[in-house]
Amino acid sequence: MSERWLNIALPKGRLGEQVYDALERAGYPCPEIREQSRKLIFENPACRVRYFWAKPTDVPVYVERGSADLGIAGRDILSEHRPDVYDLLDLGFGRCDMCVAGPADYREDPDAVLRVATKFPRIAKDYYTGRGRDIDIIRLNGSIELAPIVGLSDVIVDIVESGKTLQENGLVVFEKFLPISAHLIANKVSYKFSYEEIRRLCEGLEALRQEEGV
């Protein structure tokens, strides 16, 4: 069987660039990706690899439907959307936490339904279901921190990296409940047909991770 090309969906932004750097060091370079251009797809026939940038939340869609054999997605996106893909490797990049946060002086009323603003309704629901707590999920698409400040919600469930934005707005983290980092995911059929190539790439990234202590 001839060696197949690997199509890799990278998330646009700093995380994607960090992961590409790691892939380059692991033996999958594609110099033209660093050139300033309007190109969408970059390939290197020498190592039979093709990269493209995608919106981070769309990466699992490309992988699940086989347009990409591999992709890099945050654990937050994987937990929220549960794509039918293999979750092969925790790359350790982009570490942060899924947290419950709210106003520093907030006191929970156990008799009232808790109003939770979030971009991650499934993660929030799973978390509170596990605690047997009734909640009213308020789905927002951005600026989640605003919700408890203006009285739209009691708390928020959101990703917290440094906690600086929360702090500047008088909010505090009540609980960190899900560590987040970038994961390497694979299409379930591509994994089978390109098993050797994908395992080699995983081992390359794993070795790099151990070497550099990511």
Partner: protein
Amino acid sequence: MNIRRDEMSAYALREMYRLYGYAWYRMGKFEEYELYARNKSFLRSERILTFTDVDGRLMAMKPDVTLSIVKNRSGEKLEKLCYHETVLRADENGFRQIPQTGLECLGPVDDYLQSEVLMLACRSLETVDADYLLDISHLGYITELAALAVPEEQRDDLLEAVGRKNASAIRELCANAGTDPAVAEDLLALTAAYAAPEEMLPRMRAAVRTDSMEAACRELETVAEGVRGFLPEAKIRVDLSMLDDLHYYNGLIFRGMVAGVPFPVLSGGRYDSLLARMGKSGRAIGFAIYWDRLERSDREPENYDADAMLLYGADTPPCETAAAVRALRGRGLSVLARTEAGGARTRYRFRMEKGEVVPDE
């Protein structure tokens, strides 16, 4: 007439299944809803298209073939049936028609019959594309290993991690449960592994810890050898992470894929529990090919008007053109012979030159 690929292949498959004693099964267009309502956990989609018949009975429109076959089964004798049906199933976008071809073997199913079913699954995939893979596994093996690894309340989480080949989650769950490190290592290694039975089965055997695991291992070995007896070159792989259909299948399960199609196109396995649930005794194994998943791979040839275009001159004798067309047809190509290309699209282009067929660059 443009005959659809599933119709052509279904006919070829039916003929092949017939050679191994499978009789043709035809289900009614509608069945009483109650049958499906009672067995919803065995359906791939719980949403069923229903209507009220003229006599007031609530009817279902073909959600599943296997349930219908099991319902109509009587007695305990061996029954081998094959079918081509279009079922109606719902996903997040609404109801869809799914043409499927499959077979079911019910009754005293033994290792030989399981091997025969797996061989027919391989041959069916080969009919679709020579570049295929058939993954096999045994639910009795991996669920037993998972049971040794973590307590029951964490079993579902562990099996989900296994199904995703998620090594970091498996490690985390095992660490939290204080799993025996040797069990955790075996679970991690066997979940990640993907190889032919000859390579995988010795590794599985080395990790056997209970009688159930031993029995599962032996069954896989026997069945894999049986398939090799039919088809030495069968492209079988063992993938123990295959766990998606735990509520439906028990024991041997398998799934088929062809290159270029991002989803499995064939799925099958043992479903004794469905028989027991419907008050029937015996064992059962079967599979189906889902033609809707192959629609996209069908599309490429349709982009062409024919495989080859043959351009001949106005003065080329018809007998020369006819001989050239016959030669191209003899190579299995469909041919569009004409004096000028026009807007026709073909994979290859040839022209007549001094009575010879030459590539038209």
